[in-house]
Amino acid sequence: MKKGVITIRVQRCLGCKSCEIACAAAHSVAKDVRGMARDGERPGHRVNVEPCGRRAVPVHCNHCEEAACMAACPTGAIHREGEGEPVLVDVGRCIGCKMCVQACPFGVIVINPSGKGVLKCDQCVERLARGEDPACVAACPTGALLFAEPSEAARAKRRRAARQLVWEQSEGEPGER
């Protein structure tokens, strides 16, 4: 199974909300947008594109190591299967108390638009098991969302910062020397 975090490159987000739609589709029975529209299904989306001035920012669950939602959950419905794996909701054990919604500092646990309980990002565990990226990442047409192992993601950021530094301190284009 793939492991990693969803990282965001804010400057690339055009606010098309393809991630929201893909998320809903991936969590629907039909597993596709048209089927979802046809059946009137409302699976809800776990990623939300929020406005910030005229910019758009996709906000995801960070699958925190010490997850506040997990600590707040009185029934153990919110759990983690193993180290480094995503924080999941066991719908069967969820009593809909919404303690997790209150506890989450990022506001990424949302009320289920149809039926009881809450929705939160599961990093598309079924897709990860098949070696695929989460649906939102796969759907992003500009690469604003990336799925990467955290240390790998950090290394990529460091290299970007390094390129920036070289570019600022020399005349050439980034990566030229």
């Binding site: 690339r12 606010g15 098309c16 909300k17 500009t142």
Partner: protein, 641 residues
């Protein structure tokens, strides 16, 4: 949180506040909820033309650079803009067709509620079509003219006759570029064909036809709408009225007409004076009937009857939120589908009238020219009946309304300048030549929640006036100017430069001239042609020290208007850019390269004051090219040495 509208008139602010307090959703709330909006659409690089798509090009260069068919950003953005032009031209021109049809009915043998009220204008337009007038009855001429105008839509050979009223040099440019419009419907249809899957891929070629389509609107469909409306309903004359929600009266039956066409609203304006109906309103406890307008329907009947303006596009919901509107009657264009929801919050009865524009769950009283008066009476009776359903406790009419002078036309403004017996453009041309006026600008168009309401209109117009630029206006810019007192003659002394003050003082006109509805932008084209014909300011429209702008544009119609001004040689400024920024090539072509071909070009500038200054810089450039004297008085925004 209540929506702040820091630049809007007081009445709008009061009503927006009420809407927030009473949790009535308005255009601003829906705009906020729609954020963020998709960048692909904003940049014009989303294509939904065939079902291999939808496709979109990655503007950052990493993702796909072409759609499934291979269309790149240039092609996709050009096709999208082409279709916007076609839709805008279709809207204006279909309006024109209806007016021509009404003229044909007025010319018929059967009894008809319409007649030719301005035979002088009828004869003038008949001359364009080579229709004999001497010794013939008005009805005979009207019939021939209506048929000739209707022919313009489906002409199979030759070119648009109406376009022959453009300056000769301009027509030569169109011929050389291959953009002389042929027939109105044909250009729209051809645009839909060219932008169909797998036809025109060359973005410049698509824009070229876009300009031809737009010209078929400006010098065709829109011009027919304006000129024939003048013939039927009478040419507007200078008249006083008021603007803003304060024109509604708590003790009267309030009827708001909204939309674009004058055919029904003109009759409503007349029938509302009917003694029988007024008596009926009195019997219901009302003190009379108030008719007020929104959008261009308002402008049409303001220009001809002095009917007050209730407000602009953005105030259509706010008017209902006064709780005092007994009936809102709509025809076509710029009708927010949200109206039906807002109307449900009050007693207001919403009535659709056009077979082309119905709304689910809204009463439809279908309009037909054959029974215009009877239908207008029925609508007014419905309003009177609904007056008793009004809840006085929920009525909150803002006290604000502003005086205005409107009714300027290509003909009347210069009768004003030259006097009735020597109507001439000479004084205007001389004022520009001597530098008393720096130039003129047409500031027009919609309002849009993507900018602060009215900020763009007001700041731009005031900056132009301050620099001795005479402003002509139509559409919702005119309504905004009216509400803020810019259509009063004394506004010249408050906002105008010294030169403009002298002109307005001597002639007694406001510094901003209201010339009508959005199809009446054709009056601006006609005026530019007349200024050229008067002489002394070059041989073509592109020589004139003028500029155009639609600071808060929203509709596809504004895109068509902008393109016909660009193709007619006018520098055309909008604040939020056209959705073409995803294609660097198309952007560059529209804002730079096209000037070498038509003499006009697009400009995008989000800051309205800077936008006005760019327009002024263009005006200065044209003054210089004409070797005119520098502006007579010191200018706040200095000309470049």
């Amino acid at each position: 949180m209540p929506r702040e509208l820091p630049y809007a008139d007081k009445a709008s602010r009061e009503m927006a506040k009420r809407a927030s307090a009473e949790r009535i959703q308005t255009v601003w709330d829906r705009y906020d909820r729609m954020q963020p909006q998709c960048g692909f659409g904003t940049l014009g690089i989303c294509c939904r033309i065939c079902s291999m798509g939808p496709c979109r090009v990655d503007p950052f260069g990493d993702g796909p650079q072409a759609g499934v068919c291979g269309a790149d950003a240039d092609t996709i953005a050009a096709r999208n803009i082409g279709r916007m032009i076609a839709a805008g031209a279709a809207a204006h021109s279909d309006h024109g067709r209806d007016v021509a049809h009404t003229l044909l009915m007025a010319a018929g043998e059967k009894d008809c509620d319409y007649s030719v009220k301005d035979p002088e204008k009828l004869a003038a337009i008949a001359a364009v079509y080579g229709i004999a007038t001497s010794g013939r009855s008005v009805k005979e001429i009207a019939g021939d003219l209506a048929r000739a105008a209707l022919e313009e839509f489906g002409r199979q050979e030759g070119f648009l006759k109406m376009a022959s009223t453009a300056p000769a040099a301009r027509q030569e440019i169109w011929r050389n570029l291959g953009i002389y419009p042929r027939a109105i419907d044909r250009e729209v249809v051809e645009m839909m064909h060219r932008t169909n899957m797998g036809v025109d891929t060359d973005f410049k070629n698509i824009v070229k036809h876009g300009m031809r389509t737009a010209l078929a609107d400006g010098w065709g469909g829109s011009m027919i709408a304006t000129e024939l409306s003048d013939a039927i309903f009478g040419s507007p004359d200078i008249r006083r009225s008021r603007a803003n929600l304060g024109v509604l009266k708590a003790d009267c039956v309030n009827v708001v007409v909204h939309g674009h066409e004058p055919t029904l609203s003109d009759v409503i304006a007349i029938v509302s004076q009917d003694k029988k109906l007024i008596e009926k309103a009195r019997a219901k406890g009302a003190n009379g009937i108030v008719v007020a307008g929104i959008c261009c329907t308002a402008n049409e009947i303001l220009m001809r009857h002095g009917i007050p303006l209730a407000g602009s596009f953005m105030q259509q919901e706010l008017a209902i939120i006064t709780g005092a509107v007994d009936l809102m009657v709509v025809d076509v264009q710029c009708l927010m589908p949200a109206l039906s929801g807002v109307a449900k919050c009050f007693h207001t009865k919403l009535v659709t009238t056009s077979p082309k524009a119905k709304m689910p769950g809204v009463e439809h009283i279908e309009f037909s020219e054959e029974h215009a008066v009877r239908i207008a009476e029925r609508i007014l009776e419905t309003a009177i009946d609904n007056f008793s359903n009004r809840n006085p406790a929920r009525v909150q009419i803002p006290s604000d309304s502003e005086r205005l002078v409107a009714g300027f036309t290509t003909e009347s403004v210069f009768r004003f300048l030259g006097g009735k017996y020597r109507a001439t453009y000479r004084p205007l041309n001389d004022a520009v030549i001597s530098g008393r006026l720096r130039g003129a600008a047409g500031v027009i168009g919609c309002s849009n929640p993507n900018v602060e309401y009215e900020e763009g209109h007001l700041k731009m117009v005031k900056e132009l006036l301050k620099n001795d630029v005479l402003v002509v206006t139509t559409g919702c810019n005119a309504i905004t100017c009216a509400k803020h007192g810019l259509l009063k003659p004394e506004a010249a002394f408050e906002f105008g430069g010294k030169g403009l003050q002298e002109i307005c003082g001597a002639v007694g006109i406001p510094p901003v001239l209201h010339v009508g509805s959005c199809v009446d932008n054709s009056r601006i084209l006609r005026t530019l042609a007349n200024i050229v014909a008067e002489g002394g300011l070059g041989a073509d429209i592109s020589d004139l020290p003028v500029a155009g702008a639609a600071p808060e544009w929203m509709s596809e119609k504004a895109v068509a208007i902008g393109f016909y001004f660009v193709a007619s040689g006018v520098y055309t400024m909008i604040c939020q850019p056209l959705p073409v920024e995803g294609s660097r090539n198309l952007h560059k072509y529209l804002t730079e390269e096209v000037e070498a071909q038509t003499g006009g070009k697009w400009a995008f500038e989000i800051d309205p004051v800077e936008a006005a200054r760019k327009m002024i810089r263009h005006i200065d450039k044209k003054r210089k090219a004409l070797k005119l004297k520098p502006p007579m008085y010191e200018q706040p925004f200095k000309p470049e040495p």
